[in-house]
């Protein structure tokens, strides 16, 4: 209920009054850009002779973050309504497996894709219904599906991976490059544009933000907030299923560990991007930048040759520093 705070003195938690008059300028929407630029500059300078700035490496970062970005896009909607979806990682794992099994069973590429996405949609539907019909907090609902779906993914092949030999599938969903451009980049761009338009330019997007901003006012305004919530969870399930396909295509297999633990990275990307965990404020582009920033830090630290323990320590520090730096940069 932090947001209520701003009601009364029109400021963010910090207490300074940096509210500008242009199209609602909210620091949260911009910090991540400055932070991201800072991170890029830092690594470019320190790691310029170690291949960090090579096109290959930069494209790798995009490949590695594509799944997080895509799940983040849908999560931006979920969090914008003030809810949360912890089950995305498990959904991705299960979808990678169901798609791989469908491919193995000879349903062909269309069949595999349909099964994978259908898996995601189904779990999303269950999440949405439990939230809206039973009124169980989304944190609990999706924590439960995180476990249930994760268990299902383990159980369905008894933890064995399922190889995928369909070359077209593997090309389209993850491994392919069109000229120098990885297909994952294309997916990311297309999905980002659609999600951005959806959030900013359509009634659905406005109603999503209104639901998160003040559910009861939205309801009084004729927004079917239950329907909106159901839809954002469907969307989240769908995108998680899609991420599962991409994991499968990139690894040429389905496996129950794909996406495991991604929920935290996805939520982190969304929050870093400037979406408020309390709902009502969301930015799709910010999410993608947030995700790229996390990916860049991971990549840079590995290239630096640090131990895993050092990577973990320094990653935390960089995130805090970058956010603090971003805030400075905005304040000028």
């Amino acid at each position: 209920m932090q947001s209520k705070d701003s009601n009364l003195n029109g400021t963010v938690a910090v207490g300074s009054h940096t509210v500008s008059r242009k199209k609602t300028f909210d620091w949260r929407n911009y910090i991540v850009y400055f932070a991201f630029i800072g991170v890029i500059i830092y690594f470019s300078v320190t790691l310029h002779d170690q291949g960090f700035v090579s096109t290959d490496n930069l494209l790798n970062i995009i490949r590695q973050t594509a799944m997080i970005s895509l799940m983040g896009l849908a999560m931006t909607f979920v969090i914008s309504t003030g809810e949360i979806d912890l089950s995305v990682g498990s959904i991705a794992a299960l979808s990678s497996l169901t798609a791989a099994l469908a491919l193995q069973a000879g349903y062909g590429m269309i069949g595999g894709v349909a099964v994978g996405l259908g898996t995601g949609l189904l779990v999303g539907l269950v999440n949405g219904l439990l939230l809206t019909k039973l009124g169980i907090p989304s944190f609990l609902v999706t924590l439960a599906t995180l476990g249930t779906v994760g268990g299902l993914a383990m159980w369905i092949t008894d933890t064995a991976p399922v190889p995928i030999v369909d070359a077209t599938f593997n090309f389209v969903f993850g491994s392919g490059d069109i000229g120098p451009i990885p297909i994952l980049l294309i997916w990311t761009i297309v999905a980002t544009i659609i999600a951005h338009l959806l959030l900013r330019k359509t009634s659905f997007g406005r109603q999503t933000l209104a639901t998160g901003g003040n559910e009861s006012a939205a309801r009084f305004s004729g927004v079917n907030t239950q329907r909106i919530k159901l839809l954002v969870f469907l969307g989240s399930g769908f995108m998680a299923g899609f991420a599962g396909l991409l994991y499968a295509g990139r690894m040429h297999a389905g496996r129950f560990t794909f996406g495991q633990g991604d929920e935290l990275s996805v939520i982190a990307a969304v929050i870093l991007g400037g979406t408020s965990l309390f709902g009502g404020v969301g930015t799709v582009i910010g999410t993608v930048i947030g995700s790229l920033m996390i990916g860049t830090i991971n990549n840079g630290l590995i290239i630096m040759g640090l131990d895993v323990s050092q990577q973990m320590m320094i990653k935390g520090l960089i995130i805090i520093l970058a956010v603090a730096f971003g805030r400075k940069a905005i304040k000028r």
Partner: protein, 367 residues
């Protein structure tokens, strides 16, 4: 316990449960080649080959009379290796008339494992077969279980301060050191004894993976001085292989090979090589998983690996538990040899490792 097994039968052919003969004495696969075991036990003792273990029909009949129960307390259960071992344990125990009453997975967390041991103890099993996550912090819990009269059979490692013969029956282990050596040998052969390579290692204090890494690196350094290990990348989970290998390939464009600590991160290395367009990279690893098997069969970047014999290890563990129930003296450290797997011997090796035919998918890829 049958639920899991039933589930496996109608799934992927690769994981079809092996039929356990219901007559005759119980031993591991007699066709396993006798090899020198390179690793030694935690107490420095020389290993005894699992092939020497045997339960006769009379032994089994006697065990059956006791209607004993067993619990499997695993450190982690999500690998082909562990699945095969669990399957073998369940099958052998069934043969012995021992009911498996609980299976747990500690997710690599020692504290969870201690809870699991406590919980399982409440069901008063006669036997616990377990992989300790950590020899130090789980010791007290194992000790308590042992003091309660439960027969402990360890796989792959023991807990500190426990004495064989007194606190636990014995340890069954694959030859982890040997595994690393086999992976190094394949690597050296593929590179003709010279080149630059990287190592994707498990950045955790875990006995099994440490041994493999040490073996690999020592073999390379001592036997193949012209091969230079130029890069190290640590992982903490199975999904990290790709990121680490990608960064390695970015930094060292001239890398000739990468050793991955086990097959799952190895799949990530394969994906990284593919992305970087490095079809000529030589990848070796340990554990014969389906995906690396397929990659090897289709002439991909994975050239070979050191494999363990999880199924036979599982049988050996069950037999040892049987020894304890019969008050028969058991050797304290039992191992199965490491197997070098390359494309050439893939079909036979698969038979050896999993006791079943190589999956059709891999079979067709070999041709």
């Amino acid at each position: 316990a049958c639920g899991g097994q039933q589930a496996t039968t109608d799934k992927e052919p690769a994981n079809k449960t092996v039929e356990m003969p219901d007559t005759g004495s119980l031993t591991i696969n007699p066709e396993i080649e006798d090899k020198e075991i390179l690793g030694t036990g935690p107490f420095g003792e020389q290993a005894v080959s699992a092939k020497t273990l045997e339960l006769t029909e009379e032994d089994i009949a006697k065990i059956k009379e006791g209607s004993y129960t067993a619990a499997l307390v695993m450190h982690y259960s999500g690998t082909d290796y562990m699945t095969a071992q669990t399957d073998a344990l369940k099958a052998s125990f069934e043969r012995m008339g021992v009911e498996v009453i609980a299976v747990t997975d500690a997710q690599f967390k020692a504290e969870k494992q201690v809870s699991d041991i406590e919980t399982v103890t409440a069901k008063k099993p006669d036997i616990i077969v377990s992989v300790p996550v950590d020899p130090v912090s789980t010791a007290a819990a194992y000790k308590k279980a042992a003091d309660a009269g439960i027969k402990l059979v360890f796989m792959d490692g023991t807990a500190q301060g426990l004495e064989p013969g007194k606190d636990f029956v014995s340890i069954v282990s694959g030859d982890n050191y040997g595994n690393g050596v086999e992976a190094a040998e394949v690597m050296a052969e593929e590179l003709d004894g010279k080149g630059k390579i990287g190592v994707v290692f498990h950045d955790a204090d875990f006995f099994v993976t440490k041994q493999r890494q040490t073996a690999f690196e020592e073999t390379i350094k001592e036997k193949y001085p012209d091969i230079e290990i130029v890069a190290h990348g640590g992982i903490t989970g199975p999904n990290d292989g790709e990121k680490v290998a990608s960064a390695m390939l970015t930094q060292h464009q001239d890398l000739d090979g990468i050793f991955a600590i086990w097959d799952v991160p190895g799949e990530g290395v394969v994906s990284a090589a593919r992305t970087a367009g490095r079809d000529d990279l030589v990848i070796t690893t340990t554990d014969l998983g389906t995906n690396v098997g397929l990659e090897m069969a289709s002439g991909g970047t994975v050239k070979g690996l050191g494999a363990q014999l999880p199924y036979d290890q599982g049988i050996a563990e069950a037999i040892l538990a049987g020894y304890a129930l019969l008050d028969k003296e058991a050797p304290s450290y039992v191992t199965t040899p490491a197997v070098q797997v390359t494309k050439e011997n893939l079909e036979e090796s698969w038979q050896l490792v999993y006791r079943q035919d190589v999956p059709e998918l891999i079979q067709s890829a070999i041709q």
